[in-house]
Symmetry: C3
Subunit: 210 residues, 3 copies
């Protein structure tokens, strides 16, 4: 049952990031194949780095479903886009859900590989953020992680809460998964909506270049 739910999380995360990649690529006017490739890289990027770090087989190498899902999603996105014009919000939501879903998967895979919980948070954050970072670098967009938005922060908080709850709170594992995934989405969404910023207690510096 856990297995099935984890599978569902992976499928949803793959679709979410494929969506965000497709829209980002379409906004940059890439041709359909370019859109497909950006969707692919955005979707598998984080998990690929995670698997390489854990030294386990890269998940999509022997998994046709992932590739099929990404292909289907990007085609759907392109058709969908041709009808409606502005998807800023949809895109943002998909990116946020992908972030939440992949972060929790990353933390879990780390725990399964008997990595120290503290390091698992880093691993989850990488899994969640990396796909979007590659997408933004390839598309010459300012990486989200660098924008004023709270982004990686949401992953770190969500991952930490997940670890604490699974360890100390006697609730169904599945419930904790759903809760922390929604927590990450909520933190990011609210942060953008209300322009949350973590106070920078360090002073300003006029040399913006080293």
């Amino acid at each position: 049952m856990h297995e099935q739910f984890n599978f569902a999380i992976e499928v949803l995360g793959t679709i979410s990031f494929a969506m965000s990649g497709s829209f980002a690529a379409m906004q940059k006017r890439l041709d359909p194949f370019g859109v497909l490739i950006i969707a692919f890289v955005t979707s598998v990027g984080g998990g690929t780095v995670r698997d390489l770090l854990l030294d386990i087989p890269v998940f999509w190498m022997h998994d046709l479903l992932t590739c099929a899902l990404i292909l289907g999603t990007s085609i759907f996105a392109m058709i969908f886009k041709s009808i409606e014009k502005n998807f800023k919000v949809t895109l943002f939501i998909f990116d946020s859900f992908g972030l939440g879903l992949f972060t929790i998967i990353g933390v879990q895979k780390g725990l399964n590989a008997e990595i120290h919980p503290f390091i698992c948070i880093a691993l989850g954050t990488i899994t969640g953020c990396f796909g979007g970072i590659i997408r933004d670098i390839l598309l010459n967009r300012i990486p989200l992680i660098f924008r004023k938005e709270i982004y990686a922060t949401a992953c770190i908080v969500g991952g930490s809460v997940f670890l604490l709850m699974t360890k100390y709170i006697p609730l169904s594992y599945t419930f904790i998964q759903i809760f922390t995934i929604l927590l990450i989405v909520a933190i990011r969404t609210l942060a953008v909506k209300y322009q949350w910023q973590i106070p920078k207690f360090y002073g300003h510096d006029h040399n913006s270049e080293m």
Copy 2:
């Protein structure tokens, strides 16, 4: 005999991308060591990612020839450059040949590792495109993949044709290799020459940033 021809393909691909990396670096006025490093990264980048994904030993780690070839090529390129000034075309041709050669190598290595053909196309595209992408990111150039040119598209088409021909057409394997490599080079060259573009059936979007 297959082995020998595959070896020839690898050597030609290594030289082609080392050339394109050297010229791109020289156009950005890097010093000779910088040129060497960019040539190296451009040349081994795609194959390195491919080998990491396939979880096989990284090809250049125990292969002095590759490093020697890259060193020789970049020195040759620098001397050559000092005579003649404009190599836009030469550079483009080398980049296109590298693209074709490495894409087919990537698809083959995937098949040898018993990866599903569909995934092998993705692997071939990554092998072909990644070196140039790293080169462009390091040199702060707009990644080719993002320009209007047909680039990744050529890899996907070439890789697919290679798979279909090897499976259904009773021709010599070597002939099919040469044919598909030249096909990728031809698609890209003609696409640039005649400004081919794949129609974007999705509408325009005024928010170019998410």
Copy 3:
């Protein structure tokens, strides 16, 4: 005893790059979590790529100390920064020391894995430069390697001298390590101070884009 000294080098390198990452991130006004992540990526980036290339377990996956060091360093850096404003020089020094320390570690790990010395120089250069490159790419700064400064050149020279001395000069291994690390730092510092540049014997090219 060698072991202990190598351990000291790794610790110092980790702290140096965590420092340089923290300051670079603070100069770009990232929030504290963003600073932590950039410090982390800068510090582990080079070694991670090195371990992936050598196909050995990624060093920080089972090493809590590295993560603790980076966390502590970035917190220290943020508090420190809040007092004093301009750290261009400090940042530069930390980046240079990290470069020297990690380059030599990279070359050593390559030799231990029985990689050809010539390839070990490439490996050392990658180990030394990669963390800073990822940092600069994530922060949308022009990668140092691309600036006029002598950067990778220092790694190549330092790595080569290390190999030659360990092979032909009958001095204590530890002395050679310290000497070559300081050599790399010195080359880079003097190069910047006196604006050294390696002569580009190849002519200028007006097409700065391919």
